[in-house]
Amino acid sequence: MILLRLISYQYVRKHVLRTLLTLTGIVLGVAVFVGMHTANQSVLFAFEKTIDHIAGAAQLQVTAGETGFEEAALERVQAVAGVRVAAPVIEAVAHTNLAGQGNLLVLGVDMLGDRSLRDYDLEGSEEGAIDDPLVFLAQPDSLIVTKPFAERNGLATNSHVMLNTAEGPKQFTVRGVMRAGGLTSAFGGNLAVMDIYAAQKMFGRGRMFDRIDIALNEGVSVAEGSDRLRRALGPGFQVDTPTSRGAQFEAVASVYKVVANITSVCALFIGMFLIYNTFAIAVTQRRAEIGILRALGATEGQVRRLFLAESAAAGLIASAVGVLAGMLLARGMAGYIGAFMGEVYGIAERAQQVSTDPRLVFAALAIGVTTSVLAAAIPARNAARIDPVKALQKGRHQSLGEGESRRRRRLAVGAVAISVICALGKTGPLLYLGYFVTIIAAVLIAPAVGVWLARMLRPALSWLAPVEGALAADSLIQAPRRTSGTIAALMLSVALVTGMGGIARASYTSILTWVDTSLNPDMFVCATEKLTDRSYRFPREVGDQLRRVPGVAAVHEVRVGRIPFRGRPIMLTAIDVAAFHSRAGMPPIEGDPEGMYRDAAAGKGLLVADNLAIIEHLRVGDVVELPTPGGLLRLPVAGVVTDYSDQQGDFLIDLAVYRKYWNDDTVNVFRVYVAPGAKGPDVERAIQAQVGSRQRLFVLTNREVRAYISNVTDQWFGLTYVQIAVAVLVSVLGIINSLTVSITDRKRELGVLQAVGAVRGQIRRTVWIESLTIALIGVLPGLALGALQLYYWLEIARRDISGYRVDYMFPFGIVAALVPVMLAAALAAAIGPAEAAVRGSLVEALEYE
């Protein structure tokens, strides 16, 4: 401790800027980690809170995925022994026309039974209509809103609110205002309750319920109750506790969570190299100090512990700052993530409160400190091994010993060999091992590659700027230890950007190919503005109305919804397969390209999206069991196809099969083909005039759907921009760090240059060229590593994360943009150090040792 105060503290005081730069790497990593997780948790917490508040006293909930089920199921539930209350529910998000209010979560309930489950806690004595549920029922325009919502919109009892219904905008009357607390805090207070039959009409549910909330008799356990219900209802229904819906939400967003975790891990990993670099430099610069300590009797262990303690203290301080920054970041991100969840997964949620879990804070601090200590481990070991006699001698110590270089090269060659073998093997554990070993090989070989590239670049740089260029290259050749960490950080950053960019490019290309072959209707008639939003549905008759519109050649009805499959909510798409295949198709992966559609159309099989097939290990011929309200549906896999309809993949079955087993003839989307000779805009106007006048609908042209998909894909990859920004920022910090040290190390050299006639501009150019050279040396191996990384990521994503099979494509466009960005960033990073180099005292510089 005394050494920490006497030795370390003094060094930090002397190198404040460098210490700050180093800590920033950890600050950024921890901030991204805390920010992403806090924002995620806040959205999840809000979702769970909404579920909890809406569930009220319900102990169990009966559902059939997103698809809902017939009203008749209610009687079967009520007949189960031990069920005290069984209340049907429609739960959907409605679009208000109120400025700034956006979505409203509408709960359709049966007032006769529901009040034993949920306490509406209405204000004052104005409960009039609600006191008598029959009065409420008799008025289908009745609405109860929360007090916060009423206050925000100046509503009171008997006020009118316009809401969009499946049949167009309709006026509702506020007949009750719920007091703040409990139910009112669900969905950020944007909650309304209406009669369930009015809700069925409003959202186009037909005669179906979304779920049934259940309270059990006293003495009946939840396990016992759910067991009885499962037996009574059969495999087509799910009986779960309300909290298990939170787990489903998490399952749906699992891919997103993986990506969010990768961001923080990458930032921390890159930050680790900054710390390594700083400590490696510190050990070199403090050789004399270490030598004196050792000469005075400090043991190797004491010196090692001194450096490790320094790194732990630095990690702790940086992590604490990172946690605070992450909390601030989370506030900004929660809204974005909430909107993103709605857009990509069709799950709407509003995170009102952003609070950080103390366990997360502890984990972040632990990760920050561990990263820092790990990064300092090698420099600390080197410090401990310094020979006191040699340490007190003057000389250059930045060069890597030939022995160390040779060891690194041998290890790297071995690692590359293992990586190649693993890449060829392609099996699960080998793939991960291969990826890990590739990164290790790259990091090990980075200093040697850096020196080698600097040597290669020297003639060109000397030719371009004889003094400045040669000195910049020599600085890197002679002192690889000074820059190796920065080069490694840069290399990893560039590899990260290349990998992410590659995935983005490959995904865009694959999605566009799929859109071309699969989403080729001229227009899509939807019940909501967004394709992923499934709140509103159409009655089947709308399809017939559309077919009668002049200029319409064909209309294909599509019903989509999530159903449970092997414990995960998986998307089910039902369509008239024969009609679909007559005009479109999906690129086949496995199975007879024609036969698969024939079998599916005949109800003898189903099609599986490739990514789902990979994740769930499904092959052609395997029998899939789908739970339906009409019983267990067993269908063999007729074919595996490319389908990007949902991130977790989907099953495609014939609409007739769906209607038979789900007894549901509602429709989410109509695929409309325009007759030859007819003009799209004319048909669209005719649809709006003939069908839209009676029915809420949105006509999206093919171009709009493409733009929508492109937008959703952009939003998804928007997260990668955060990664890219963090990676570039951390690298720039690394360059500033390296250059600051380089300027200090080369003080005398730069002083000599000025003494023999170099003007300020020439000194600045020397520093700029050095910075650009560092960037170039980091970028080139980074691109190579990125190309390899992309291969591993695509394989890992295909096998274990999303299951998407996308073709390998090196992102040349992104690289073309990245290289100048990195060089510009390097130039910007050099401005401060270059100014420091020309502003110092020449006399001091010439005396510097």
Partner: protein, 226 residues
């Protein structure tokens, strides 16, 4: 001609240290003077002020009638580049550059063409007897050879003024004598003004003029007729 008029230099720290105190000197063109004095007497400070590496706190330093005090940093650098050559005690060669490259630096900085630089560097290294060491790195040379390279670099444009700070201070007696002889030879052949800081009485005695500094003041200024 080098002229110092009432030049003082103080360093501000916890307490103010006066390195030079109201020094007035004139070194005519072609003169060769040794500046001697005990440690802390202001020898190196005086040399730094004449060489434009530092600025006087008060008074005026002029080279060929041009006052250095009012010049901007880059203008001062140009005076240094065109009129002054430096020889340092610790050579101050750039360790990563070859002898050729070290000597070529000032010429590159002046923007000379490659052909002209090569010709001049070969000529200079020949002048100091190192024509066969063109591609050697400083660490491959002896101390005396390194100082010769430093001298060749200082002479790169045959500046009218040569400033040497303890040029033999880091060399053994025999090598030091060689270097001193070289400086004298160059002074005779090139006619440059040479100002040499030394604590070595033998070196000082070899110069026709000796200026003794003590506590920042000129205690004596003698011509020995050497």
């Amino acid at each position: 001609m080098i002229a110092l008029r009432g030049v003082s230099k103080t360093f501000d720290g916890r307490r103010t240290v006066t390195a030079l105190d109201n020094v007035t000197l004139e070194i005519p063109k072609g003169d060769m003077a040794a500046i001697i004095g005990p440690s802390g007497s202001g020898k190196s400070t005086l040399l730094n002020l004449v060489g434009g590496l530092d600025r006087a706190t008060s008074g005026e330093v002029a080279i060929d009638g041009q006052a250095l005090g009012g010049l901007a940093d880059d203008a001062l650098t140009r005076v240094r580049r065109d009129k002054i050559g430096f020889i340092f005690q610790f050579f101050n060669l750039l360790p990563t550059l070859t002898c050729f490259e070290n000597v070529a630096i000032p010429l590159h900085l002046r923007g000379w063409g490659r052909g002209r630089i090569e010709e001049r560097v070969r000529e200079l290294l020949g002048l100091v007897g190192l024509e066969k060491r063109l591609e050697h790195l400083p660490e491959e040379l002896s101390g005396g050879e390194r100082q010769r390279v430093a001298i060749a670099r200082a002479l790169s444009v045959y500046p009218p003024i040569l400033l040497a700070d303890e040029p033999t201070g880091n060399l053994d007696t025999h090598t030091g004598a060689d270097i001193l002889a070289l400086i004298h030879d160059l002074h005779d052949r090139l006619g440059a003004t040479v100002l040499m800081v030394t604590h070595d009485r033998t070196v000082a005695a070899s110069c026709p003029r000796t200026i003794l500094l003590r506590d920042g003041r000129v205690e004596s200024d003698e011509r020995t007729g050497a």
